[in-house]
Symmetry: D2
């Protein structure tokens, strides 16, 4: 694969960091090198592009980063980039460094930036890197699996103490608008109650009743997983304690969910997607999101991808119910 | 969902154990209970069926097993079951306990047993539980993800010492006929060389050359992942040391790869597949393998499933090469 | 070792649960069996003693609990036991079951209960099981090491994201009156700031200054470890962000610190201490705390032990400072 | 603390690598900087000293290495250094770089080198860094705790599969002449049999009998931990299988035991010892081993330290027996 119009590319990470972003960077750099490209790493997301924080990378500069959490290129929000002037400035800097293409790793906010760059003349490919798995066009986003396993490890630990004290433990996990983390982690940890922003719920029906039923079956400890978008876990703990007499405690897992050495799945998918992104640029494509559909790595138009709607799988919601008989 | 002909079912684990088998057992028991079924656990695979080692299980008996490795029902090879008389005896015992259906969790050897049970009159559903991911009809088998992450953790540790001593480390991972573990773990760990049984290889071309090239680029340590079916890692270490002067060490990971608390993926997929298996029995189906195809949980005929051929994904083999520039 | 007056003993866990309590229970049961004793497990701490929740245990009943977090005997606070009548009732129940001695695993609150039991006629030995390491007479308490490593794992993850976003991360760890967890975890995680209840601190001097100094040396991310007894981490994050312009986030680790499979140290020390406790009873001793002093397992009088004062090691406080140049 | 004769020091790691060596390096560099010293890192152990592979380090160069396994300075065996000429050459290089002192992190072989350097005119302090915990004068060596926990994680996994298949699993752990790893890991994992080089053993009495007794009590799976110095685990598995009929499998854990992110204990003790080493040099001392005695960080003369004899603690050997009733 060779393309005389694509000699030099860049890669940046943007938005919230996710485990596996380094694996994606490494893949872009190495696959780029494999095809004879010059690859620049851009620091601090779109900020770095605007400010010219680029440095050339090679196989050695991404050595030993595969297993590291976070992103060695760092990431940041960039208000300036939301203005047309910012995008224009970024494209000018890209020209200074001779970039013929760019790979942006991030979430849907970052994808809008990628689209704007394409419109302004810099061929850009978006790669879904976010722990939330909330990219509509892709079955999977880099970072999701590591995040889920971090949550699982934490909840397994909390269950130890919940059992020992016969307590009810309420755990808030990430997901402001999306319940993907909550539903998978909830099933994986055998949670008695799972609350997600995509479904209506009532305290009496969905929280109190299963706990009281569980209690009447002789089991006093329980685990409740609540997505961030629902919130209010500290108050919930108080209310449960008042109404059931069962000691209740809330934990907000927080930023621990963003870090950690990536799992195999995140490392491999990130590597595959990074490779795909480079090859799309070499094929002369742009304005595409690399994504996983039906277990295959494919690509869709950014605009179309952003317009898609992703449903929380109803079968998992049902499964969770069947498993807590 | 209700089926007057299916009131009582059994579940057993067979063949090599795999992390997530307990999640599958739990799912069969709980989803069975959810649908009002009586569920028996069968001990020690087909042996237990022949010998009548069954005990009734309920939601409580599978409490707190989700996070445990291995299988609480245990597993064993069963020579007797390979004979027609053994299968007949098993079906008789199943009648004694009133089983209207059975879920068998295991690998392809176990699936042949499931088929024979169906033929002899016991409706049986097979569920792929094996760390090798070598079931042709399914993109995924329960236990694979945990195994991969165990290998990854081990190789990440070995890399620490390989780097410190500038050594070449050769690691044998499971997979007698299949290189799925080797290829995914190899990519996830940034192995310089990956040898799988599905591909021809030569020592000079595929082992010696990349190590020498890496050495000439100034990098003396390297990681070689070898599938069990290739073998000979201790001799390989000696030969590399002799021919390159680089100190080389072999590690055979062995049974550590079979154990451990299952990852989120294994817990969730096992739960989904267990649910599907019960629902297939309730639909009056039998002789089916529950499997994952295009990211969905579906089912195929056992005979057809066994006849399929699964290829090692060429794109992963290529990717591994591109990443080791 | 034989003692005709000690034929039957009990074991209970009390106060906050700690990883390794199961290893201590197992050791009391197995070492008791080794010496020919009958051993009863008492459920739910002193509550279970008052209410007669005892069951005989043997080598098999403690099989496979060594690796499990929490306590299989469960634990609870017991207000009734703080009254003389409660203690008297407990001793009567102990007589009903023929207990000649009792081992109590817990913290200093539990030790006062052990002392009261001795005074009321039940020979009791106390074993320090608490994640806080705040037992004055002992260099080590069961659960401390596992807790420290849980904190370390969490902070290592948070650092990934702090680095990627160039944030200041403030992490609250357990320790209401004691900074042992904070100081060791702080050193182990390379925290820029460590705040413990045993030392006075000022926001300007001890928090703001090191962060600003670090920033002026070109490093924007930092980790601050705060013991629970200090509190106020959410407000602290806001204040740091306002005064330095560095994005700041707080995480309260919470109950995750109490759980998890115990480390080797906790398993081994718990086993040693459980053995010592049984042997003290066999020697006819009572009212003793098993403890670690100068790296040896010894015992001290409960009253004397409770009266001792444990200092936060000044050398660790100094070390933390020297390491953050 | 100031010493006009000590302005510049070096640090190197030697012998087998151990987790926590990086924490020791970081501590020497940072504490050195804290006292205003210039600190050089020496690459590849004594080799690097002979060949002049030194580079100046500062607080930033040891940033983010605390959590990494292995040693960033690398390590190697050095035959040349065993000759007087080698030592002389090393001291000359040290003069070239103006070293007033050196800290050597390693095992007893490395300590002999440190002693020779002192004799040849370079004040040197030895710091015990070896997973084997076989340094006679010290209760603890950096790397031991991480190694133990790696072994524990592996054995916990192997037990899952041993239980599921009712197998006997024999696991060889490191320790050619010393059984410290085997005895602690054996107790921590509830091994039925532990074989160490310091104790005589017979196959019939110490291996076969406990397995047969365990089998006759209805328990077919068992775990046997064997120190490397005993060896022969593959043959042992065969013999057990032949004589008991219990399927038996051997695993040689190998180099995985050397790597991994260090535990809290290894990070903290390494930090304390590194600090102590620098302060000893500043006090004008040399030819000392930093060590832990009675839970305190102290120092002893290298010659005296090497002459001491460390016994395998008999109480642990006895404890292991009491716990396997």
């Amino acid at each position: 694969m060779e393309n005389k119009n694509v000699r030099t590319i860049g890669v940046l990470t943007s938005g919230g960091d996710a485990p596996g972003m380094n694996a994606a960077i490494r893949s872009v750099v190495r696959v780029g090198s494999y095809y004879g490209l010059k690859v620049f790493g851009v620091r601090r997301g779109y900020n770095g592009l605007i400010n010219g924080e680029l440095e050339e990378m090679n196989a050695r500069s991404v050595s030993e980063i595969l297993q590291r959490g976070g992103t060695i290129l760092q990431t940041a929000r960039c208000l300036e980039f939301k203005e047309e002037a910012g995008v224009k400035k970024a494209v000018e800097i890209a020209k200074v460094f001779g970039l013929d293409g760019l790979v942006v790793v991030g979430g849907d906010g970052s994808f809008r930036g990628a689209r704007d760059l394409c419109a302004a003349g810099l061929p850009t490919i978006a790669l879904p890197g976010t722990i939330d798995n909330d990219i509509s066009c892709s079955e999977y986003t880099v970072g999701y699996d590591t995040c889920l396993n971090t949550v699982k490890d934490a909840v397994d630990k909390i269950r130890d103490t919940a059992q020992s004290h016969e307590r009810c433990s309420i755990i808030e996990v990430m997901g402001r608008a999306a319940g993907y983390i909550a539903i998978q982690a909830g099933i994986a940890c055998g949670a008695e109650v799972i609350l997600v922003p995509e479904r209506k719920w009532s305290f009496d029906e969905d929280v109190l009743r299963p706990i009281l039923e569980s209690k009447s079956r002789g089991r006093k400890h329980s685990i409740i997983i609540v997505a961030e978008g629902i919130g209010g876990v500290i108050e919930m703990a108080k209310e449960i304690e008042e109404k059931t007499g069962i000691e209740s405690r809330a934990t907000i897992l927080g930023h621990v969910q963003r870090g950690g050495s990536p799992t195999v799945r995140d490392r491999v998918v990130a590597s595959e997607m990074g490779c795909k992104a480079v090859e799309l640029l070499l094929e002369g494509k742009q304005n595409r999101i690399v994504c996983m559909q039906q277990h295959e790595i494919v690509d869709v138009d950014i605009e179309e991808g952003l317009a898609m709607k992703k449903e929380l799988p109803q079968n998992l919601v049902d499964l969770a119910k069947k498993l807590t008989v």
